[in-house]
C-alpha cells in the first residue's frame, strides 16, 4: 500500500463516518459540522484525482458559503428533533433492513467485480504546468455551453422562486416605510388640546382624549 492509497482510505473512511454522523447526531449544529467534514473529505479525494479546481470550489462554495449560512439558520431556529424522530424510530428496524440490503446490492454491483482497477486503464497523468481550471473552462464554454446555459437558468429560477416565496407582505407583520416616515406632517402626530383648568361649564374638550 503506497502513500496515495493510504490517504484515499483515510479520507474515504472519514467521509463515510462523518456522513453517517450527519444523519445520526441529535444536535443539529453538530450534524451540520459533520457535513462540513464530509465535504472536506470529499474535496481531499478529488485532489487525489487531480481535480484541483473542483476540490477547491467545493471547499470555497460549500464549506465557506453554504454551510456557514446553513449553520446560521440552524442556530436561529429552535428545532425539536425528538418530535421529528417519532415516526422515524418506529420504522427504523424495517428501514435498516431495507437500507442494508440495498447497500449490499450496491456494493456488490459497484464493487471490484465490475469497477476493479484491472477493468479500467489508468488515466494519463499530467505534468505540473497543466491547468485544470483552463481545461475545464475550455470545455465548459464550448462543448458544454448548452448544459451550462441551462444550469444558469436553473439558478435564476431558484432565485426567483426563493424571493417570491420569502418576500411577501404579511398582514400582521411589522415593517418600516421610510416614505411615510418622511412624508409625515405635524398635524398627523400632534394635537393641541386647550387646557381649561377652571372647569368652566360647556367645555369638556379635555375629556375627549
Amino acid at each position: 500500500m503506497n502513500f496515495e492509497q493510504l490517504l484515499f482510505y483515510l479520507f474515504a473512511a472519514a467521509l463515510l463516518g462523518s456522513a453517517l454522523m450527519v444523519i445520526t447526531l441529535r444536535n443539529p449544529v453538530h450534524a451540520a459540522l459533520s457535513l462540513v467534514l464530509t465535504f472536506f473529505s470529499g474535496a481531499a479525494l478529488w485532489l487525489l484525482l487531480e481535480a484541483e479546481f473542483l476540490a477547491i470550489t467545493l471547499v470555497l462554495v460549500y464549506v465557506g458559503a453554504v454551510m456557514v449560512l446553513f449553520l446560521f439558520v440552524v442556530m436561529m431556529l429552535d428545532i425539536n428533533l425528538a418530535q421529528l424522530r417519532e415516526g422515524f424510530v418506529k420504522l427504523l428496524p424495517v428501514g435498516v433492513v431495507v437500507a442494508l440490503l440495498v447497500i449490499g446490492m450496491m456494493v456488490y454491483v459497484v464493487g471490484p467485480g465490475n469497477f476493479g482497477l484491472e477493468k479500467f486503464a489508468e488515466p494519463v497523468g499530467h505534468s505540473a504546468d497543466y491547468s485544470n481550471t483552463k481545461e475545464l473552462g475550455r470545455v465548459l464554454y464550448t462543448v458544454y455551453v448548452y448544459p451550462f446555459e441551462i444550469a444558469a437558468v436553473i439558478l435564476l429560477v431558484a432565485i426567483i422562486a426563493a424571493i417570491s416565496l420569502a418576500l411577501r407582505k404579511r398582514p400582521q407583520g411589522k415593517r418600516q416605510d421610510p416614505d411615510l416616515q418622511i412624508a409625515v406632517r405635524k398635524k398627523d402626530r400632534l394635537r393641541i388640546v386647550a387646557n381649561n383648568p377652571k372647569g368652566q361649564p360647556g367645555s369638556n374638550a379635555g375629556d375627549k382624549k
Binding site: 415516526g87 422515524f88 420504522l91 424495517v94 428501514g95 431495507v98 437500507a99 440490503l101 440495498v102 446490492m105 454491483v109
Partner: protein
C-alpha cells in the same frame, strides 16, 4: 373535373343535412316559414345537382366516380372510409330520392299546416333525405350500414311523430324491433364480408368475390355451407327487414300511423326500396349463389301475392296503399331473384313515382275529409276534388299496369323475366305475380270506386267542408302524375335492354333473362302491343271489372261473401296470424325469457354477485388501499425505497 364532381357529390349529400340541422337544432330561433324555406332549399339544391349528375353520368356517359372522401380510420389494414360510388344506378337513385323528397317537402307545407311539430317534421324529412343519399351513394359497406341505420332511425322517429298517440308509439316500437331482426342479419352479413374479404370497399369485395365462389364454411360444425350463400342470405335478411318482405313485413302497415307525407316518402318511394337497391348493388355477389337467388325469389313471390290479398279487406285508405306497397316490393324482389336486377330497379323507379303519387293523393283526400281515413265513410268525392281524382286515377292505372303507363312497362318486364327464368322457384313465382296482377287491380279499384264514386256516405258536416286542397298539395300531385305516365316508356329501352346499368349491375350470362327478353324488344310501342297479347293485361282488366261489379253494381255480394267465407275472412282479418304469432309467441316468449334472465340472471347473479358483489369488494379494497396514503413524508420515501429494492432484486439478481 373529378374534383369538381366530388364537390358536387358532397354538396348533394350535405345540403339536406344543413337544412335538417338548421331546422332541427335552431328551430327555436326561426319561424316556420324559415324552417321550410331552408329545408326545401337544401333538398332543391340536391335535386337540381342530382339531375346534373344524372346528365353527366348517364346522358353524357361520364366516368363513374368511385373514391374516398374521408378516411375515418385504418385498422389492421381495413380502411373505414366515407366514400362515394356514383354510377348509373346511383345516379338514378339520387334523382328519384331527391325529387320525390322535394315533392314531399312542398306537399308537407299544406299537410302539416296546423301541426305544432311543423319544424321538427321538416328537420326529420331533410335528415332522412341526407341519410338515404348516404346510403345510395356509398362505396363501402360501413357507410351503407350507416345510411341503413340512419334511415331506420328517422323512420322510427317519424312513425312515432305524433308521440302522444299510443298507437303511434306502438307502431314505431314495432318497426324498430322488426328492423332490429333484419339489421342483425345484415350486420352479420357485413361482418362475414369483412372477415373473408378483409375489406369493406365494394370494388375490392366484388373483384375478389369470384375467387371465393366455391369456398365453404362451417357455421355449425360438420355442416358445409357455401360462403357466398351465407353472405347473400344474411344480407338479404337485412333487406327483408328494410323492404318489408314476409315474414318481416309486419311493421309496414302499422307505420301508416305516421303522417302521410312520410308514408309517401319513406314507406313507399325510398327507404323501403333500400333493400332492393342493396341487392341490386350486390348483384356480383348474388350471381354467385343460386340458392340465395331462390330464397330471394320465393320470399318475393310470397310477399307479392299474399300481401296483395290482404289489401282487399282493408278499409283504411292508407292501409290499402300500404299493402299494395308490400305487394309491389314483392314484385321487385321477385325480379331480383330472377336475376332481372335491372327490371327490379326499373320497377323501383316507376313505383317510387306512382306510389308517392297515390300516397299523396290519399293524403289529399284525408285533408279534404278532415283526417278521416275510413273509405266506408267516403264516396262520390270526385266532384269535390277533381285534381285529386284525376291524379289518383293516373296513379292507380300506373299501379295496375295499364298499357302505356309507367307501371305497365316495369311490371310486365318482371312478369316476362320470371317467365323466362330458370332459377328454382321461378314457376311458383310466375304464378304468384300473375295472380298478383288481378288482385292488385281489384283492391286498387275497389278503393278508387269506394272513395270517388257511388253514394256519399260521409256525414253532413264533413260534406260541407269538402273541397279541393291548396296548390302546395295538388302541385306535387300533378308533378308526380307526369312521370307516373311517361317514365316507363322513356326508360324501358335503355334501362332494361340497353347498356344503362353496364358496370353497375352484373348478371352472369346463363341467367340473363333480360338479355333474352331484349332479343324480342323493338321499342316501347311494340312492347305495349306485345302486352296486349299477354294474360297479365286481361287479368288486370278482370280485376278492375270485378271491383266495379262488386262494389258499384252489387255491393251486397261482398257482404254475403264475408258472411259465408267466415274462416277465410278471419284468416285475412288476422293478416294470416303473423301479428298474433309475434305477439303471443315471439313477444310473450321474449318477455318470459327476459323475466327469467332478469330475475335469476340479472338480479341474483349479475346484480347480486357480479355487480354489487364486485362493487362491494372493490369499494372495500379501495377503502383499505386509501390508508396507504398516510400523508407522512417518510412513509412515501420508504415506499419508494421498497420499490427500488424490489426492482433491483427482481431484475439485477
Amino acid at each position: 373535373m373529378a374534383d369538381n364532381m366530388q364537390n358536387i357529390y358532397l354538396t348533394v349529400a350535405l345540403a339536406p343535412l344543413v337544412g335538417a340541422i338548421v331546422a332541427g337544432l335552431f328551430g327555436r330561433f326561426i319561424s316556420r316559414s324559415v324552417a321550410h324555406t331552408v329545408t326545401i332549399a337544401g333538398v332543391a339544391v340536391s335535386a337540381a345537382l342530382s339531375l346534373y349528375v344524372f346528365k353527366h353520368i348517364v346522358i353524357d356517359g361520364g366516368e363513374p366516380f368511385n373514391g374516398a372522401v374521408y378516411t375515418w380510420m385504418v385498422s389492421d389494414g381495413v380502411r373505414f372510409e366515407v366514400g362515394f360510388l356514383v354510377d348509373s344506378l346511383t345516379a338514378m337513385m339520387m334523382v328519384v330520392v331527391t325529387w320525390v323528397s322535394l315533392m314531399v317537402h312542398i306537399y308537407t307545407i299544406g299537410y302539416m299546416h296546423d301541426d305544432p311539430g311543423y319544424k321538427r317534421f321538416f328537420s326529420y324529412i331533410s335528415l332522412f333525405t341526407f341519410s338515404m343519399l348516404m346510403l345510395v351513394m356509398s362505396n363501402n359497406f360501413m357507410q351503407l350500414f350507416f345510411g341503413w341505420e340512419a334511415v331506420g332511425l328517422v323512420s322510427y322517429l317519424l312513425i312515432g311523430f305524433w308521440y302522444k298517440r299510443p298507437t303511434a308509439i306502438f307502431a314505431n316500437l314495432k318497426a324498430f324491433l322488426v328492423n332490429r331482426v333484419g339489421d342483425f342479419g345484415f350486420l352479420l352479413g357485413i361482418a362475414a364480408v369483412l372477415m373473408y374479404f378483409n375489406s369493406l370497399d365494394y370494388a375490392d369485395v366484388f373483384s375478389a368475390a369470384p375467387m371465393m365462389a366455391d369456398m365453404t364454411i362451417q357455421v355449425i360444425p360438420g355442416v358445409e355451407w357455401s360462403l357466398m350463400t351465407v353472405i347473400c342470405i344474411l344480407l338479404f335478411i337485412g333487406a327483408m327487414g328494410k323492404s318489408a318482405q314476409v315474414p318481416l313485413h309486419v311493421w309496414l302497415p302499422d307505420s301508416m300511423e305516421g303522417p302521410t307525407p312520410i308514408s309517401a316518402l319513406i314507406h313507399a318511394a325510398t327507404m323501403v326500396t333500400a333493400g332492393i337497391f342493396m341487392v341490386a348493388r350486390m348483384s356480383p355477389l348474388y350471381e354467385l349463389s343460386t340458392t340465395a337467388l331462390t330464397v330471394v325469389l320465393v320470399v318475393g313471390s310470397i310477399t307479392a301475392l299474399f300481401m296483395g290479398i290482404l289489401g282487399i279487406i282493408q278499409n283504411d285508405i292508407k292501409r290499402v296503399v300500404a299493402y299494395s306497397t308490400l305487394s309491389q316490393l314483392g314484385y321487385m324482389t321477385v325480379a331480383l331473384g330472377a336475376s332481372a336486377y335491372a327490371a327490379g330497379v326499373f320497377h323501383l323507379m316507376t313505383h317510387a313515382f306512382f306510389k308517392a303519387l297515390l300516397f299523396l293523393a290519399a293524403g289529399s283526400v284525408i285533408i279534404g275529409m278532415h283526417h278521416e281515413q275510413d273509405i266506408r265513410k267516403m264516396g262520390g268525392i270526385k266532384k269535390y276534388m277533381p285534381i285529386t281524382y284525376w291524379t289518383m286515377l293516373i296513379g292507380s292505372l300506373a299501379l295496375i299496369g295499364f298499357p302505356g303507363f309507367a307501371g305497365f312497362f316495369s311490371k310486365d318486364a318482371i312478369i316476362e323475366a320470371v317467365h323466362l327464368s330458370q332459377t328454382p322457384g321461378a314457376g311458383f313465382a310466375y304464378f304468384a305475380v300473375l295472380v298478383g296482377v288481378f288482385i292488385t287491380a281489384f283492391y286498387s279499384f275497389r278503393m278508387f270506386f269506394l272513395v270517388f264514386h257511388g253514394e256519399e256516405r260521409m256525414d253532413k258536416h264533413a260534406r260541407e267542408h269538402l273541397h279541393e286542397t291548396p296548390w302546395v298539395v295538388t302541385g306535387p300531385l300533378i308533378a308526380l302524375a307526369v312521370p307516373s305516365v311517361v317514365v316507363g316508356a322513356i326508360f324501358i329501352g335503355p334501362m332494361l335492354f340497353g347498356d344503362f346499368f353496364n358496370g353497375a349491375i352484373f348478371v352472369s350470362p346463363e341467367r340473363d333473362v333480360l338479355g333474352k327478353l331484349g332479343e324480342n324488344f323493338h321499342g316501347w310501342f311494340a312492347f305495349i302491343l306485345h302486352g296486349l297479347a299477354t294474360p297479365a293485361l286481361y287479368l288486370a282488366m278482370a280485376g278492375v271489372g270485378a271491383a266495379w261489379f262488386l262494389y258499384m253494381k252489387r255491393p251486397d255480394i261482398p257482404e254475403m261473401i264475408k258472411a259465408r267465407a267466415g274462416v277465410v275472412y278471419t284468416v285475412l282479418e288476422h293478416k294470416y296470424g303473423f301479428d298474433d304469432f309475434n305477439d303471443k309467441v315471439v313477444a310473450a316468449g321474449s318477455r318470459a325469457l327476459g323475466r327469467l334472465l332478469w330475475q335469476v340472471g340479472d338480479v341474483k347473479l349479475i346484480d347480486g354477485f357480479v355487480v354489487n358483489g364486485t362493487a362491494k369488494g372493490v369499494g372495500w379494497l379501495s377503502a383499505v388501499i386509501k390508508h396507504i396514503q398516510t400523508g407522512f413524508l417518510y412513509h412515501y420515501a420508504f415506499a419508494m425505497f421498497v420499490g427500488l429494492f424490489a426492482l433491483i432484486a427482481l431484475f439485477v439478481f
